[in-house]
């Protein structure tokens, strides 16, 4: 019974992440930076990481990327979002587990956003076979600071409230 509840909560988190991704892709950006996104679905991965653990966060991240590819229908974007999700999840887990006293969730989220951008640009470099694409990275890093900060801030509030709810269920 407990396992079933966990599966249901994880699938709910996946669908929340999916909805956030769809809303995000419909949102116009004020500044045109190629590849820059708000990264709202990173919030879901971060919350899953805090409440459930690393394995569950990785599963949610991968499932979200796979289903989002089915929604948008562009297979080439699968590699970008999958690589970003996996690398950011691993880095966020390491920072969250080993340096909880140094970094709050804001720091963890910034690490995740930076890793996400780095993985995507690296995949683009590999696919396009052109090292010059790395010249996008500094601007992407600056934008990931802002998005990472607010994603972290939002996650702190979500975790505070969700922990109460989950304590009732588990």
């Amino acid at each position: 019974m407990k396992k079933m509840k966990k599966i249901i909560f994880l699938s709910l988190l996946v669908s929340v992440g999916l909805a956030l991704s769809v809303i995000e892709s419909a949102m116009p950006m004020p500044v045109i930076v190629p590849g820059a996104k708000l990264g709202l679905s990173n919030m879901v991965i971060l919350v899953t990481l805090v409440i459930f653990g690393f394995k569950e966060a990785l599963i949610v991240g991968i499932l979200k990327s796979l289903v989002f590819t089915l929604v948008t229908g562009s297979i080439s974007s699968l590699f970008y979002s999958l690589s970003g999700a996996i690398l950011s999840c691993i880095l966020m887990f390491l920072v969250y587990k080993y340096f909880p006293s140094i970094f709050s969730l804001i720091g963890v989220s910034i690490f995740g956003a930076v890793a996400h951008n780095f993985a995507q640009v690296t995949i683009a470099v590999i696919i396009m076979n052109n090292m010059k694409i790395y010249s996008y990275l500094p601007i992407l890093l600056l934008t990931s600071l802002f998005t990472g900060y607010f994603v972290g801030l939002a996650s702190i509030f979500i975790v505070k409230n969700l922990k109460k709810t989950f304590n009732v269920f588990f």
């Binding site: 045109i32 190629p34 590849g35 562009s74 080439s76 974007s77 970008y80 340096f99 006293s101 140094i102 970094f103 709050s104 804001i106 720091g107 910034i110 690490f111 930076v114 683009a124 696919i127 396009m128 076979n129 052109n130 010059k132 694409i133 010249s135 996008y136 990275l137 500094p138 601007i139 890093l141 600056l142 600071l145 900060y149």
Partner: protein, 126 residues
């Protein structure tokens, strides 16, 4: 927000500003420049800037998709694309060596490159 967060933010700002400055600085060192259009990692076309071709458009039609680029005065932009989000169109003109326009769905890279000056042997001293 802990102290570590603040240091992390400052660290990333410094790193990205330094690398931005480095990229800009590298771009200034060239005088002659040309447009290199690459599809799927291979050079597809090379256009050297010239007063005569200002305003001309070049269609790039490959198996991955269609893009139309326009050459301006020492600058280049994409004006039409078959990709869904058209980020390459929104990016506008690029003009400095090292700047790139990337269209991921069409596997297209438009890059401004500097022509390296041919260097002769300056002096030979005995």
């Amino acid at each position: 927000m802990t102290k570590g967060d603040k240091y992390l933010i400052i660290f990333i700002v410094v790193i990205s500003l330094i690398s931005l400055g480095f990229i800009k600085n590298k771009a200034i060192n060239y005088k002659e420049k040309y447009v290199s259009i690459q599809v799927n990692g291979k050079e597809y076309k090379k256009i050297i800037f010239d007063k005569k071709i200002i305003g001309k458009t070049f269609p790039i039609e490959t198996e991955f998709g269609y893009n139309l680029i326009e050459i301006g005065d020492e600058k280049v932009r994409v004006i039409e694309a078959s990709c869904p989000d058209e980020l390459d169109v929104k990016q506008g003109y690029i003009s400095k060596p090292g700047e790139v326009i990337v269209c991921l769905p069409n596997k297209l890279v438009i890059e401004i490159k500097g022509l390296e000056e041919e260097r002769d042997v300056d002096y030979i001293s005995h």
